[in-house]
């Protein structure tokens, strides 16, 4: 076998004085509850959206086209519905992605960087999404 390598002599503090005491985090608590409550809302919003757009449309023999959007976003109810869906899905999904990054990227700076990127992208898409719903003019043709 190979020659003996001297182990690094470890003079660990045998008392194992504990690391600094962990601190409560209202932030994580908020997001934990948010994921669950938004999830509940999304069951209706997201599944409802998918059902209408991809199932009902077929069953009623319609098409998704500009006209369809026009008629839908002509009513404030559907606009509000889609806005809420957008906000919740984005917040829920992006926070989920944040959690996933936190789980797998343990290097401090890398994690920070990735989260910043995620946040930036999400912000842009959020603004874009709101803009679409807000600025779409159902009267135009």
């Amino acid at each position: 076998m190979t020659t003996t390598r001297r182990p690094r002599v470890i003079y660990a503090n045998p008392s194992r004085a504990a690391r600094p005491r962990p601190e409560a985090s209202g932030r994580e608590r908020f997001w934990w509850y948010f994921m669950r409550l938004s999830g509940l809302a999304l069951v209706f919003l997201a599944l409802g959206h998918m059902f209408i757009m991809h199932v009902l449309v077929v069953l009623t023999g319609r098409q998704i086209d500009f006209a369809f959007v026009q008629s839908r976003w002509g009513t404030p109810f559907w606009r509000m519905y889609d806005l809420l869906l957008l906000l919740l899905a984005l917040a829920h999904g992006v926070n989920g992605a944040r959690i996933v990054i936190g789980d797998y990227v343990t290097h401090r700076t890398a994690r920070g960087l990735l989260l910043a990127v995620l946040l930036a992208i999400s912000a842009i898409w959020l603004v874009a999404g709101i803009a679409i719903i807000a600025f779409f003019d159902p009267g135009a043709s």
């Binding site: 003996t4 001297r6 045998p14």
Partner: protein
């Protein structure tokens, strides 16, 4: 045999590190942890109290205890500590030092209450008090009938005790040196003392450390691993007994070893007395309930030593199952309710390890080496005695199974061991705290450090010899067969010679692992040496005692002999010449005159 690992043995051992502490506790079982906690509480947070343990504290064998710990709380029915005192003395076949037993039984109540205050999860009565149940040998009004005296946390009382004490030690910031194996005492002035610390091997690095302190407590547990079939953990190798013994200090009453009747066949794990308490019976090859012959009144619930001997006799007369060396425990008739609710762990063991279903199958059992009544002699405050005259070794304390106070005499009652480790662990801690200021400043024992270094280098240097496991297996075999439940002059003489021969062979051990990290192969070799020392003292003491009493049963001297043998054995070995000598100390009798022991 070949050497595996690196080709060249490691040259020198890394330099010795020194730690200055106020007091050192060796062993992190119930006894050691309670002592450390007490030291911290007495001396305040500034005190540097170190607990050195070769296992992580929560791995200590105290955690394996099942049944309970007794104290005359009287929570469910009338009880008095004097009754408990009597039971202890009688259970120990009158070899008990009655002043010590008095202290234990009196302190028991306060100690158990204190444990509750520390957070121990005792089972509760309807009124929210600590619940209590019956256990073998514990009686009301000096033997009138069974009494509920055992306090318990389900069927894992030991686990609860160990956890609670470990938790409180964390709270009080006891310094733990985990996975350090103590190899020697610092005794710069010779065996008479004073003790000024210990020398230990850090298992993770193989470095030697010198711990200097004015007071040292040994609480290293038992040595059940000298026997082939035992309920004890692999790590119970009698280190704490062998170390002072090698330095010429005596070991008391080593011939008294308790064999528990219902060990799982071959494996040795305990099947609690509760199995018979609930109605289980023992059967031989012919399906006879043989205990009816040996103990007509108590039958299967006679005391542990009696039942173990009866099983042995059945086996010796060829009525073991299939002529083999085990009998059956029959619990089939207890029903699913009792087995699954009252004895869940036991039923689980049977299912896991035997693949048997206790409801339909007979369970193979055999007596298993369980508990060392003997050990390092101490007074009622844990101070180690240098000889049979009662001279103490300054700065040296012992408590728990390693010690012999003697509260168990010739046979320990169920639940009294946990009580012993708690009461005397705590008392030793208190005494150490009180005496600390008056003990001499610790000084270095350069000789001891050098000799430990030499020992280890010697073991690592050899490239041929026998594997420790081979010798250990032979030792366990011969001790179980010849110094076991039943003993005779002939068997013991053979055993003595066999142990001596093994000691010679053990001078050339092959340690294959030459590395520094967790060299558990080296650990095996060191522990084997300790086992051999304990075996030597045990056999010598047993050979000399020509009577039968409690755990020591001689076929050739079947009767108890109070005239000749109502005394404690002190076995010691002269470190210079290597010759063994035995001395005797009278039993302290304060209240209960020896009487015939019938149940």
């Amino acid at each position: 045999m070949t050497v595996i690992g690196s080709a060249t043995p490691r040259g020198a051992i890394p330099p010795t590190r020194t730690h200055d502490l106020d007091a050192v506790v060796v062993g992190a079982g119930g006894a050691g942890l309670y002592a450390a906690l007490e030291l911290k509480q007495e001396l305040g947070p500034e005190a540097r109290i170190g607990v050195i343990s070769k296992l992580y504290p929560s791995r200590s064998h105290t955690g394996a205890a099942q049944g309970g710990v007794c104290a005359a709380l009287g929570n469910t029915e009338e009880d008095h500590w004097e009754w408990h005192w009597f039971d202890t003395v009688k259970g120990g076949d009158y070899l008990v030092d009655q002043d010590a037993a008095e202290v234990m039984c009196r302190d028991a109540v306060e100690t158990i209450i204190n444990l509750e205050h520390l957070g121990l999860p005792f089972d509760r009565t309807e009124d929210g008090l600590i619940n209590q149940r019956r256990f073998g040998g514990h009686t009301r009004n000096y033997g009138e009938g069974p009494v509920r005296r055992s306090c318990f946390a389900a069927d894992r009382t030991g686990h609860a005790i160990l956890q609670t004490l470990f938790q409180q030690c964390i709270k009080h910031e006891v310094v733990f040196f985990d996975e350090y194996q103590v190899l020697d005492l610092a005794l710069p002035g010779g065996p008479a003392g004073p003790v000024s610390g210990v020398i230990a091997l850090q298992l993770s690095t193989s470095e030697l450390h010198a711990f200097r302190a004015r007071a040292v407590l040994f609480a290293t547990g038992g040595y059940g691993k000298v026997f082939k079939v035992t309920s004890n953990a692999h790590t119970l190798t009698g280190d704490g007994m062998a170390i002072p013994y090698r330095r010429g200090l005596p070991l008391e009453d080593m011939e008294f070893f308790q064999f528990h009747p219902t060990g799982m066949y071959k494996l040795g794990f305990l099947l609690s007395e509760a199995m018979r308490g609930e109605g289980g019976v023992l059967l031989n090859d012919r399906g006879e309930r043989f205990m009816e012959r040996y103990a007509p009144t108590m039958k299967d619930l006679a005391s542990r030593d009696v039942v173990s001997r009866s099983i042995y006799l059945e086996i010796a007369e060829g009525r073991g199952i299939g002529g083999g060396d085990f009998v059956h425990l029959d619990v089939r008739h207890l029903g699913a309710e009792v087995l699954n609710k009252k004895l869940p762990d036991m039923s689980g063991f049977i299912r896991t390890y035997f693949g048997l279903e206790p409801l339909t199958d007979l369970v193979p059992i055999q007596p298993t080496a369980h508990y060392a009544m003997g050990g390092v002699p101490t007074d009622i405050d844990g101070r180690v005695l240098a000889d049979e005259t009662g001279r103490v070794v300054p700065g040296f304390y012992a408590a728990g199974e390693v010690a012999c106070v003697s509260v168990h005499g010739a046979n320990r009652l169920g639940t009294n061991s946990l009580l012993d480790i708690l009461v005397f662990g705590r008392r030793a801690g208190k005494k150490m705290a009180a005496e600390l200021a008056n003990l001499p400043e610790p000084i270095v024992d350069a000789d001891a450090e050098a000799s430990v270094q030499a020992r280890i280098s010697g073991l690592l240097a050899g490239s041929e010899g026998e594997r420790p496991a081979v010798i250990r297996a032979e030792l366990q075999e011969v001790m179980f067969a010849k110094c076991g439940v039943y003993r005779t002059e002939e068997l013991l003489t053979e055993c003595r010679d066999a142990v001596a021969a093994l000691r010679v062979r053990a001078q050339r051990l092959l340690v294959q692992d030459k590395g520094c990290r967790y060299n558990t192969d080296l650990g095996d070799a060191l522990e084997l040496e300790y086992l051999l020392d304990c075996a030597e003292a045990t056999v010598a003491s047993a050979l000399a005692r020509k009577e039968s009493r409690g755990g020591h049963a001689r076929e050739d001297f079947a009767e108890r002999d109070d005239v000749g043998w109502l005394k404690h054995t002190f076995a010691s070995r002269d470190p210079a010449s290597g010759s063994m000598s035995l001395a005797y100390k009278p039993v302290t009798i304060t209240k209960f005159e020896p009487r015939a022991r019938t149940y």
